[in-house]
Symmetry: C2
Subunit: 251 residues, 2 copies
Protein backbone atom coordinates (compact mmCIF):
# COMPACT_ATOMS: atom_id res chain seq x y z
CA UNK A 1 0.00 0.00 0.00
CA UNK A 2 1.30 3.40 -1.00
CA UNK A 3 0.95 5.76 1.96
CA UNK A 4 2.33 8.86 0.18
CA UNK A 5 -0.32 9.53 -2.45
CA UNK A 6 0.91 10.87 -5.77
CA UNK A 7 -2.58 11.34 -7.11
CA UNK A 8 -4.88 14.16 -6.04
CA UNK A 9 -8.36 14.36 -7.42
CA UNK A 10 -11.06 17.00 -7.19
CA UNK A 11 -14.52 15.55 -6.58
CA UNK A 12 -17.92 17.16 -6.17
CA UNK A 13 -19.17 14.86 -3.38
CA UNK A 14 -18.94 15.54 0.37
CA UNK A 15 -15.82 14.13 2.03
CA UNK A 16 -15.56 12.58 5.49
CA UNK A 17 -14.10 9.51 7.18
CA UNK A 18 -15.88 6.29 6.15
CA UNK A 19 -17.71 7.85 3.20
CA UNK A 20 -17.76 6.07 -0.16
CA UNK A 21 -17.01 8.22 -3.20
CA UNK A 22 -17.74 7.19 -6.78
CA UNK A 23 -15.48 8.47 -9.55
CA UNK A 24 -16.63 8.96 -13.12
CA UNK A 25 -15.26 7.21 -16.19
CA UNK A 26 -12.66 9.88 -17.01
CA UNK A 27 -11.24 9.89 -13.48
CA UNK A 28 -11.21 6.08 -13.36
CA UNK A 29 -9.35 5.99 -16.67
CA UNK A 30 -6.80 8.45 -15.34
CA UNK A 31 -6.23 6.37 -12.19
CA UNK A 32 -5.99 3.09 -14.03
CA UNK A 33 -4.11 3.96 -17.20
CA UNK A 34 -2.21 7.17 -16.55
CA UNK A 35 -1.26 6.74 -12.89
CA UNK A 36 -1.34 2.91 -13.02
CA UNK A 37 -3.16 2.77 -9.71
CA UNK A 38 -5.41 -0.08 -8.66
CA UNK A 39 -7.42 -1.43 -5.72
CA UNK A 40 -5.68 -0.70 -2.42
CA UNK A 41 -3.81 2.38 -3.63
CA UNK A 42 -4.27 5.49 -1.48
CA UNK A 43 -5.00 8.76 -3.25
CA UNK A 44 -5.87 12.25 -2.02
CA UNK A 45 -9.27 13.87 -2.56
CA UNK A 46 -10.50 17.45 -2.12
CA UNK A 47 -13.76 19.19 -2.98
CA UNK A 48 -13.14 22.85 -2.12
CA UNK A 49 -15.18 22.59 1.11
CA UNK A 50 -14.06 19.75 3.38
CA UNK A 51 -10.25 19.93 3.21
CA UNK A 52 -8.06 17.13 1.86
CA UNK A 53 -8.60 13.44 2.62
CA UNK A 54 -6.81 10.18 2.00
CA UNK A 55 -8.96 7.61 0.25
CA UNK A 56 -8.37 3.98 -0.68
CA UNK A 57 -9.31 2.67 -4.10
CA UNK A 58 -11.84 -0.13 -3.63
CA UNK A 59 -12.74 -1.03 -7.18
CA UNK A 60 -11.75 0.25 -10.59
CA UNK A 61 -13.52 -0.67 -13.80
CA UNK A 62 -13.79 0.86 -17.26
CA UNK A 63 -16.96 2.62 -16.20
CA UNK A 64 -15.85 4.14 -12.92
CA UNK A 65 -14.19 3.56 -9.58
CA UNK A 66 -15.23 3.45 -5.95
CA UNK A 67 -13.12 4.93 -3.17
CA UNK A 68 -13.38 4.67 0.60
CA UNK A 69 -12.44 7.89 2.42
CA UNK A 70 -10.06 7.40 5.36
CA UNK A 71 -8.31 10.23 7.25
CA UNK A 72 -8.19 13.98 6.73
CA UNK A 73 -4.71 15.23 5.78
CA UNK A 74 -5.47 18.99 5.75
CA UNK A 75 -8.41 21.08 6.92
CA UNK A 76 -10.00 23.55 4.52
CA UNK A 77 -8.26 26.92 4.93
CA UNK A 78 -8.95 30.48 3.85
CA UNK A 79 -7.51 31.50 0.47
CA UNK A 80 -6.95 34.93 -1.11
CA UNK A 81 -10.09 36.52 -2.56
CA UNK A 82 -8.56 37.32 -5.95
CA UNK A 83 -10.46 37.49 -9.21
CA UNK A 84 -8.95 37.47 -12.69
CA UNK A 85 -10.71 39.26 -15.55
CA UNK A 86 -9.11 38.45 -18.91
CA UNK A 87 -9.94 39.09 -22.52
CA UNK A 88 -10.14 35.72 -24.30
CA UNK A 89 -7.08 35.11 -26.46
CA UNK A 90 -6.31 32.26 -28.83
CA UNK A 91 -6.32 28.70 -27.62
CA UNK A 92 -2.75 27.97 -26.50
CA UNK A 93 -2.49 31.23 -24.56
CA UNK A 94 -5.93 31.13 -22.94
CA UNK A 95 -5.07 27.64 -21.69
CA UNK A 96 -1.84 28.97 -20.17
CA UNK A 97 -3.76 31.83 -18.52
CA UNK A 98 -6.24 29.45 -16.86
CA UNK A 99 -3.62 26.90 -15.80
CA UNK A 100 -1.38 29.55 -14.26
CA UNK A 101 -4.28 31.39 -12.60
CA UNK A 102 -5.11 28.11 -10.89
CA UNK A 103 -1.54 27.59 -9.69
CA UNK A 104 -1.24 31.19 -8.59
CA UNK A 105 -4.32 31.07 -6.37
CA UNK A 106 -7.00 32.97 -8.32
CA UNK A 107 -10.44 32.35 -6.75
CA UNK A 108 -12.68 33.28 -9.71
CA UNK A 109 -12.03 33.58 -13.43
CA UNK A 110 -14.06 35.92 -15.66
CA UNK A 111 -13.51 35.93 -19.44
CA UNK A 112 -14.53 39.45 -20.56
CA UNK A 113 -14.99 40.78 -24.09
CA UNK A 114 -13.31 44.15 -24.68
CA UNK A 115 -13.45 46.30 -27.83
CA UNK A 116 -10.36 44.78 -29.41
CA UNK A 117 -11.03 41.19 -28.34
CA UNK A 118 -10.79 39.02 -31.45
CA UNK A 119 -12.20 35.82 -29.95
CA UNK A 120 -16.00 35.66 -29.89
CA UNK A 121 -16.54 32.34 -28.10
CA UNK A 122 -15.06 30.75 -25.01
CA UNK A 123 -15.12 27.01 -24.29
CA UNK A 124 -15.97 27.19 -20.59
CA UNK A 125 -16.00 23.43 -20.19
CA UNK A 126 -12.42 23.08 -21.44
CA UNK A 127 -11.27 25.96 -19.26
CA UNK A 128 -12.94 24.43 -16.19
CA UNK A 129 -11.17 21.12 -16.85
CA UNK A 130 -7.83 22.96 -17.07
CA UNK A 131 -8.56 24.80 -13.82
CA UNK A 132 -9.37 21.51 -12.05
CA UNK A 133 -6.18 19.85 -13.31
CA UNK A 134 -4.10 22.82 -12.19
CA UNK A 135 -5.62 22.69 -8.71
CA UNK A 136 -5.06 18.93 -8.45
CA UNK A 137 -1.43 19.36 -9.47
CA UNK A 138 -0.52 22.40 -7.35
CA UNK A 139 -1.90 21.09 -4.04
CA UNK A 140 -4.49 23.78 -3.55
CA UNK A 141 -7.69 22.83 -1.71
CA UNK A 142 -10.09 24.57 -4.06
CA UNK A 143 -10.75 25.04 -7.76
CA UNK A 144 -11.29 28.50 -9.24
CA UNK A 145 -14.74 29.04 -10.69
CA UNK A 146 -14.72 29.74 -14.44
CA UNK A 147 -17.62 32.09 -15.15
CA UNK A 148 -19.43 32.51 -18.44
CA UNK A 149 -17.92 35.08 -20.76
CA UNK A 150 -19.55 38.51 -20.71
CA UNK A 151 -18.78 42.03 -21.89
CA UNK A 152 -16.46 44.23 -19.85
CA UNK A 153 -19.24 46.85 -19.63
CA UNK A 154 -21.61 44.32 -18.08
CA UNK A 155 -18.92 43.20 -15.64
CA UNK A 156 -18.17 46.76 -14.54
CA UNK A 157 -21.86 47.72 -14.29
CA UNK A 158 -22.32 45.17 -11.52
CA UNK A 159 -19.00 45.81 -9.77
CA UNK A 160 -19.12 44.86 -6.07
CA UNK A 161 -18.43 47.57 -3.49
CA UNK A 162 -15.04 47.31 -1.82
CA UNK A 163 -13.25 45.27 -4.50
CA UNK A 164 -10.18 46.95 -6.04
CA UNK A 165 -9.69 46.55 -9.79
CA UNK A 166 -6.02 46.23 -10.68
CA UNK A 167 -5.75 47.41 -14.27
CA UNK A 168 -2.74 46.20 -16.26
CA UNK A 169 -2.28 49.51 -18.05
CA UNK A 170 -0.21 48.90 -21.17
CA UNK A 171 -0.57 52.56 -22.08
CA UNK A 172 1.97 53.74 -19.51
CA UNK A 173 -0.67 55.27 -17.22
CA UNK A 174 0.00 53.05 -14.21
CA UNK A 175 2.25 53.13 -11.17
CA UNK A 176 5.19 50.71 -10.98
CA UNK A 177 3.59 47.45 -9.84
CA UNK A 178 5.59 46.84 -6.64
CA UNK A 179 4.95 50.39 -5.42
CA UNK A 180 1.23 50.19 -6.24
CA UNK A 181 0.80 46.79 -4.58
CA UNK A 182 2.67 47.90 -1.44
CA UNK A 183 -0.03 50.58 -1.00
CA UNK A 184 -2.97 48.35 -1.90
CA UNK A 185 -3.66 46.86 1.51
CA UNK A 186 -5.67 43.73 2.21
CA UNK A 187 -9.17 43.04 0.95
CA UNK A 188 -10.86 41.66 -2.16
CA UNK A 189 -9.13 42.45 -5.44
CA UNK A 190 -9.41 41.70 -9.15
CA UNK A 191 -6.79 41.85 -11.88
CA UNK A 192 -7.85 42.90 -15.39
CA UNK A 193 -5.77 42.19 -18.49
CA UNK A 194 -6.72 43.23 -22.00
CA UNK A 195 -6.44 41.31 -25.28
CA UNK A 196 -3.27 40.96 -27.38
CA UNK A 197 -4.17 44.15 -29.25
CA UNK A 198 -4.57 46.09 -26.01
CA UNK A 199 -7.50 48.13 -24.78
CA UNK A 200 -9.10 50.75 -27.03
CA UNK A 201 -7.94 54.26 -26.13
CA UNK A 202 -11.42 55.35 -24.98
CA UNK A 203 -11.86 52.12 -23.03
CA UNK A 204 -8.54 52.59 -21.24
CA UNK A 205 -9.39 56.23 -20.42
CA UNK A 206 -12.74 55.14 -18.93
CA UNK A 207 -11.12 52.32 -16.93
CA UNK A 208 -8.53 54.70 -15.47
CA UNK A 209 -11.30 57.00 -14.22
CA UNK A 210 -13.14 54.30 -12.22
CA UNK A 211 -12.99 55.07 -8.49
CA UNK A 212 -12.08 51.43 -7.69
CA UNK A 213 -9.38 51.11 -10.37
CA UNK A 214 -5.69 50.84 -9.57
CA UNK A 215 -3.70 51.13 -12.83
CA UNK A 216 -0.31 49.39 -12.64
CA UNK A 217 2.67 49.30 -14.97
CA UNK A 218 4.65 46.14 -15.77
CA UNK A 219 7.86 47.66 -17.05
CA UNK A 220 9.38 48.79 -20.33
CA UNK A 221 8.88 45.64 -22.42
CA UNK A 222 5.58 44.77 -24.13
CA UNK A 223 4.25 41.63 -22.42
CA UNK A 224 1.97 39.14 -24.09
CA UNK A 225 -1.41 38.80 -22.37
CA UNK A 226 -0.53 35.47 -20.73
CA UNK A 227 2.82 36.79 -19.47
CA UNK A 228 1.17 39.91 -18.05
CA UNK A 229 -1.39 37.79 -16.18
CA UNK A 230 1.25 35.56 -14.58
CA UNK A 231 3.49 38.53 -13.77
CA UNK A 232 0.71 40.52 -12.09
CA UNK A 233 -0.64 37.54 -10.15
CA UNK A 234 2.86 36.65 -8.91
CA UNK A 235 3.62 40.18 -7.77
CA UNK A 236 0.21 40.35 -6.07
CA UNK A 237 0.70 37.10 -4.14
CA UNK A 238 4.29 38.08 -3.23
CA UNK A 239 3.42 41.57 -1.98
CA UNK A 240 -0.27 41.43 -0.93
CA UNK A 241 -1.20 37.74 -0.91
CA UNK A 242 -0.37 34.42 0.68
CA UNK A 243 3.26 34.24 -0.45
CA UNK A 244 4.02 36.59 2.44
CA UNK A 245 3.36 33.79 4.94
CA UNK A 246 6.68 32.28 6.05
CA UNK A 247 7.09 28.74 4.76
CA UNK A 248 6.20 26.23 7.43
CA UNK A 249 3.50 28.42 8.95
CA UNK A 250 0.90 26.66 6.83
CA UNK A 251 2.02 23.12 7.63
CA UNK B 1 4.48 54.34 -47.06
CA UNK B 2 3.83 52.97 -43.59
CA UNK B 3 5.61 55.18 -41.05
CA UNK B 4 4.56 53.22 -37.94
CA UNK B 5 6.39 49.93 -38.38
CA UNK B 6 4.58 46.84 -37.13
CA UNK B 7 7.49 44.58 -37.88
CA UNK B 8 10.65 44.44 -35.76
CA UNK B 9 13.48 42.19 -36.80
CA UNK B 10 16.68 41.19 -35.07
CA UNK B 11 19.69 41.17 -37.41
CA UNK B 12 23.35 40.36 -36.86
CA UNK B 13 24.76 43.15 -39.07
CA UNK B 14 25.87 46.60 -37.89
CA UNK B 15 23.14 49.25 -38.09
CA UNK B 16 23.56 52.90 -39.04
CA UNK B 17 21.98 55.51 -41.29
CA UNK B 18 22.49 54.75 -44.99
CA UNK B 19 23.67 51.17 -44.45
CA UNK B 20 22.27 48.35 -46.56
CA UNK B 21 21.17 45.24 -44.67
CA UNK B 22 20.51 41.86 -46.31
CA UNK B 23 17.91 39.56 -44.75
CA UNK B 24 18.02 35.79 -45.09
CA UNK B 25 15.38 33.60 -46.72
CA UNK B 26 13.42 32.94 -43.51
CA UNK B 27 13.17 36.63 -42.64
CA UNK B 28 12.24 37.53 -46.21
CA UNK B 29 9.51 34.89 -46.17
CA UNK B 30 8.19 36.32 -42.90
CA UNK B 31 8.10 39.86 -44.32
CA UNK B 32 6.51 38.84 -47.59
CA UNK B 33 4.03 36.14 -46.59
CA UNK B 34 3.28 36.59 -42.90
CA UNK B 35 3.40 40.38 -42.58
CA UNK B 36 2.48 41.01 -46.24
CA UNK B 37 5.11 43.71 -46.51
CA UNK B 38 6.81 44.70 -49.75
CA UNK B 39 9.21 47.24 -51.27
CA UNK B 40 8.78 50.67 -49.65
CA UNK B 41 7.46 49.38 -46.31
CA UNK B 42 9.29 50.65 -43.24
CA UNK B 43 10.25 48.15 -40.57
CA UNK B 44 12.30 48.37 -37.37
CA UNK B 45 15.67 46.65 -36.93
CA UNK B 46 17.84 46.02 -33.85
CA UNK B 47 21.00 44.03 -33.29
CA UNK B 48 21.63 44.25 -29.54
CA UNK B 49 24.41 46.84 -30.00
CA UNK B 50 23.35 49.84 -32.08
CA UNK B 51 19.84 50.62 -30.79
CA UNK B 52 16.72 50.49 -32.94
CA UNK B 53 16.52 51.81 -36.50
CA UNK B 54 13.88 52.36 -39.13
CA UNK B 55 14.68 50.66 -42.42
CA UNK B 56 12.94 50.66 -45.80
CA UNK B 57 12.45 47.47 -47.74
CA UNK B 58 14.23 47.83 -51.08
CA UNK B 59 13.77 44.44 -52.66
CA UNK B 60 12.14 41.20 -51.58
CA UNK B 61 12.57 37.90 -53.37
CA UNK B 62 12.16 34.26 -52.43
CA UNK B 63 15.83 34.07 -51.57
CA UNK B 64 16.15 37.14 -49.39
CA UNK B 65 15.50 40.85 -49.02
CA UNK B 66 17.52 44.04 -48.99
CA UNK B 67 16.80 46.91 -46.63
CA UNK B 68 18.11 50.47 -46.48
CA UNK B 69 18.59 51.77 -42.93
CA UNK B 70 17.18 55.27 -42.32
CA UNK B 71 16.85 56.91 -38.87
CA UNK B 72 17.53 55.68 -35.37
CA UNK B 73 14.36 55.42 -33.27
CA UNK B 74 15.97 54.42 -29.93
CA UNK B 75 19.56 54.36 -28.69
CA UNK B 76 20.92 51.18 -27.12
CA UNK B 77 20.32 51.33 -23.36
CA UNK B 78 21.52 49.41 -20.33
CA UNK B 79 19.45 46.38 -19.34
CA UNK B 80 19.32 44.33 -16.12
CA UNK B 81 22.16 41.81 -15.76
CA UNK B 82 19.93 38.85 -14.94
CA UNK B 83 20.73 35.24 -15.75
CA UNK B 84 18.27 32.34 -15.74
CA UNK B 85 19.48 28.83 -14.94
CA UNK B 86 16.78 26.24 -15.62
CA UNK B 87 16.62 22.47 -15.72
CA UNK B 88 15.41 21.43 -19.19
CA UNK B 89 11.79 20.30 -19.10
CA UNK B 90 9.62 18.83 -21.85
CA UNK B 91 9.11 20.70 -25.06
CA UNK B 92 5.98 22.81 -24.52
CA UNK B 93 7.15 24.06 -21.13
CA UNK B 94 10.79 24.73 -22.07
CA UNK B 95 9.49 26.84 -24.96
CA UNK B 96 7.32 28.83 -22.54
CA UNK B 97 10.31 29.32 -20.22
CA UNK B 98 12.49 30.74 -23.01
CA UNK B 99 9.75 32.93 -24.50
CA UNK B 100 8.83 34.42 -21.13
CA UNK B 101 12.46 34.86 -20.06
CA UNK B 102 12.91 36.95 -23.21
CA UNK B 103 9.86 39.09 -22.48
CA UNK B 104 10.85 39.48 -18.83
CA UNK B 105 14.32 40.82 -19.60
CA UNK B 106 16.68 37.91 -18.87
CA UNK B 107 20.15 38.61 -20.31
CA UNK B 108 21.55 35.07 -20.47
CA UNK B 109 19.89 31.66 -20.44
CA UNK B 110 21.68 28.56 -19.12
CA UNK B 111 20.03 25.13 -19.40
CA UNK B 112 21.51 23.08 -16.53
CA UNK B 113 21.20 19.35 -15.83
CA UNK B 114 20.34 18.53 -12.22
CA UNK B 115 20.08 15.06 -10.61
CA UNK B 116 16.36 14.68 -11.32
CA UNK B 117 16.39 16.26 -14.77
CA UNK B 118 14.68 13.84 -17.14
CA UNK B 119 15.62 15.56 -20.40
CA UNK B 120 19.09 14.68 -21.69
CA UNK B 121 19.28 16.90 -24.78
CA UNK B 122 18.45 20.53 -25.47
CA UNK B 123 17.77 21.95 -28.93
CA UNK B 124 19.72 25.19 -28.56
CA UNK B 125 18.90 26.33 -32.07
CA UNK B 126 15.15 26.13 -31.47
CA UNK B 127 15.48 27.90 -28.13
CA UNK B 128 17.57 30.69 -29.71
CA UNK B 129 14.89 31.17 -32.38
CA UNK B 130 12.23 31.45 -29.66
CA UNK B 131 14.36 33.97 -27.75
CA UNK B 132 14.80 36.10 -30.89
CA UNK B 133 11.07 36.06 -31.65
CA UNK B 134 10.24 37.04 -28.06
CA UNK B 135 12.68 39.98 -28.23
CA UNK B 136 11.27 41.14 -31.57
CA UNK B 137 7.75 41.00 -30.19
CA UNK B 138 8.33 42.63 -26.80
CA UNK B 139 10.26 45.68 -28.05
CA UNK B 140 13.48 44.93 -26.22
CA UNK B 141 16.73 46.04 -27.86
CA UNK B 142 18.67 42.85 -27.22
CA UNK B 143 18.27 39.09 -27.44
CA UNK B 144 19.18 36.85 -24.52
CA UNK B 145 22.06 34.49 -25.22
CA UNK B 146 21.06 30.80 -25.01
CA UNK B 147 24.13 28.91 -23.76
CA UNK B 148 24.91 25.26 -24.31
CA UNK B 149 23.47 22.93 -21.70
CA UNK B 150 25.86 21.84 -18.95
CA UNK B 151 25.68 20.22 -15.54
CA UNK B 152 24.72 22.26 -12.51
CA UNK B 153 28.01 21.24 -10.83
CA UNK B 154 30.01 22.62 -13.77
CA UNK B 155 28.00 25.83 -13.71
CA UNK B 156 28.55 26.35 -9.98
CA UNK B 157 32.26 25.44 -10.15
CA UNK B 158 32.89 28.46 -12.36
CA UNK B 159 30.52 30.82 -10.54
CA UNK B 160 31.51 34.48 -11.02
CA UNK B 161 32.35 36.54 -7.95
CA UNK B 162 29.69 39.03 -6.96
CA UNK B 163 26.69 37.38 -8.67
CA UNK B 164 23.83 36.38 -6.33
CA UNK B 165 22.15 33.04 -7.03
CA UNK B 166 18.43 33.21 -6.32
CA UNK B 167 17.41 29.65 -5.56
CA UNK B 168 13.72 28.77 -6.04
CA UNK B 169 13.61 26.52 -3.00
CA UNK B 170 10.60 24.22 -3.33
CA UNK B 171 11.60 22.51 -0.08
CA UNK B 172 10.34 25.35 2.10
CA UNK B 173 13.86 26.54 3.04
CA UNK B 174 13.58 30.00 1.50
CA UNK B 175 12.47 33.44 2.64
CA UNK B 176 9.20 34.87 1.27
CA UNK B 177 10.19 36.20 -2.15
CA UNK B 178 9.16 39.86 -1.73
CA UNK B 179 11.03 40.12 1.58
CA UNK B 180 14.16 38.43 0.16
CA UNK B 181 14.17 40.59 -2.98
CA UNK B 182 13.70 43.81 -0.97
CA UNK B 183 17.00 42.99 0.79
CA UNK B 184 18.85 41.84 -2.32
CA UNK B 185 20.14 45.19 -3.52
CA UNK B 186 21.41 45.98 -6.99
CA UNK B 187 24.06 44.03 -8.86
CA UNK B 188 24.30 40.95 -11.06
CA UNK B 189 21.91 38.14 -10.21
CA UNK B 190 20.84 34.71 -11.45
CA UNK B 191 17.64 32.77 -10.84
CA UNK B 192 17.83 28.96 -10.60
CA UNK B 193 14.80 26.71 -11.03
CA UNK B 194 14.89 22.93 -10.76
CA UNK B 195 13.15 20.30 -12.89
CA UNK B 196 9.50 19.19 -12.51
CA UNK B 197 10.59 16.54 -10.00
CA UNK B 198 12.42 19.11 -7.89
CA UNK B 199 16.01 19.11 -6.71
CA UNK B 200 17.45 16.04 -5.00
CA UNK B 201 17.56 16.45 -1.22
CA UNK B 202 21.39 16.43 -1.10
CA UNK B 203 21.55 18.83 -4.04
CA UNK B 204 19.17 21.27 -2.36
CA UNK B 205 21.12 21.09 0.91
CA UNK B 206 24.38 21.85 -0.95
CA UNK B 207 22.76 24.74 -2.88
CA UNK B 208 21.44 26.30 0.34
CA UNK B 209 24.96 26.30 1.82
CA UNK B 210 26.55 28.27 -1.05
CA UNK B 211 27.76 31.67 0.17
CA UNK B 212 26.24 33.40 -2.88
CA UNK B 213 22.86 31.63 -2.69
CA UNK B 214 19.64 33.40 -1.73
CA UNK B 215 16.90 30.76 -1.24
CA UNK B 216 13.41 32.15 -1.84
CA UNK B 217 9.95 30.73 -1.31
CA UNK B 218 7.07 31.13 -3.80
CA UNK B 219 4.14 30.43 -1.53
CA UNK B 220 2.04 27.48 -0.41
CA UNK B 221 1.06 26.04 -3.80
CA UNK B 222 3.35 23.77 -5.84
CA UNK B 223 4.27 25.68 -8.99
CA UNK B 224 5.23 24.01 -12.25
CA UNK B 225 8.76 24.85 -13.39
CA UNK B 226 7.60 27.31 -16.06
CA UNK B 227 5.24 29.09 -13.65
CA UNK B 228 7.99 29.37 -11.03
CA UNK B 229 10.36 30.92 -13.59
CA UNK B 230 7.86 33.55 -14.68
CA UNK B 231 6.80 34.29 -11.10
CA UNK B 232 10.36 34.76 -9.86
CA UNK B 233 11.45 36.87 -12.85
CA UNK B 234 8.37 39.11 -12.48
CA UNK B 235 8.93 39.66 -8.76
CA UNK B 236 12.61 40.35 -9.43
CA UNK B 237 11.92 42.97 -12.11
CA UNK B 238 9.15 44.55 -9.99
CA UNK B 239 11.22 44.79 -6.80
CA UNK B 240 14.90 44.87 -7.93
CA UNK B 241 14.83 45.40 -11.68
CA UNK B 242 13.69 47.79 -14.37
CA UNK B 243 9.97 47.69 -13.58
CA UNK B 244 10.76 50.14 -10.78
CA UNK B 245 11.41 52.89 -13.33
CA UNK B 246 8.32 55.09 -13.65
CA UNK B 247 6.67 54.68 -17.03
CA UNK B 248 7.68 57.46 -19.36
CA UNK B 249 11.17 57.79 -17.88
CA UNK B 250 12.52 55.50 -20.59
CA UNK B 251 10.84 57.27 -23.50
Amino acid sequence: MDISPKVRLFVAQPLGGGRAVALDQAQAHYLLHVMRAGPGTMIALFNGRDGEWLARIDQVSKRGATLMVADQTRPQSAEPDLWLLFAPVKRARIDIIVEKAGELGVSELFPVFTRHTVMTRVNGERLSAIAIEASEQCERLSVPTVHEARSLEEMLAGWPAGRRLILLDEGGGGRPVAEAFADLGDGPAAILVGPEGGFAKSELDALRRLSFACPVDLGPRILRADTAVIAALSCFQAICGDWRVPPGALL
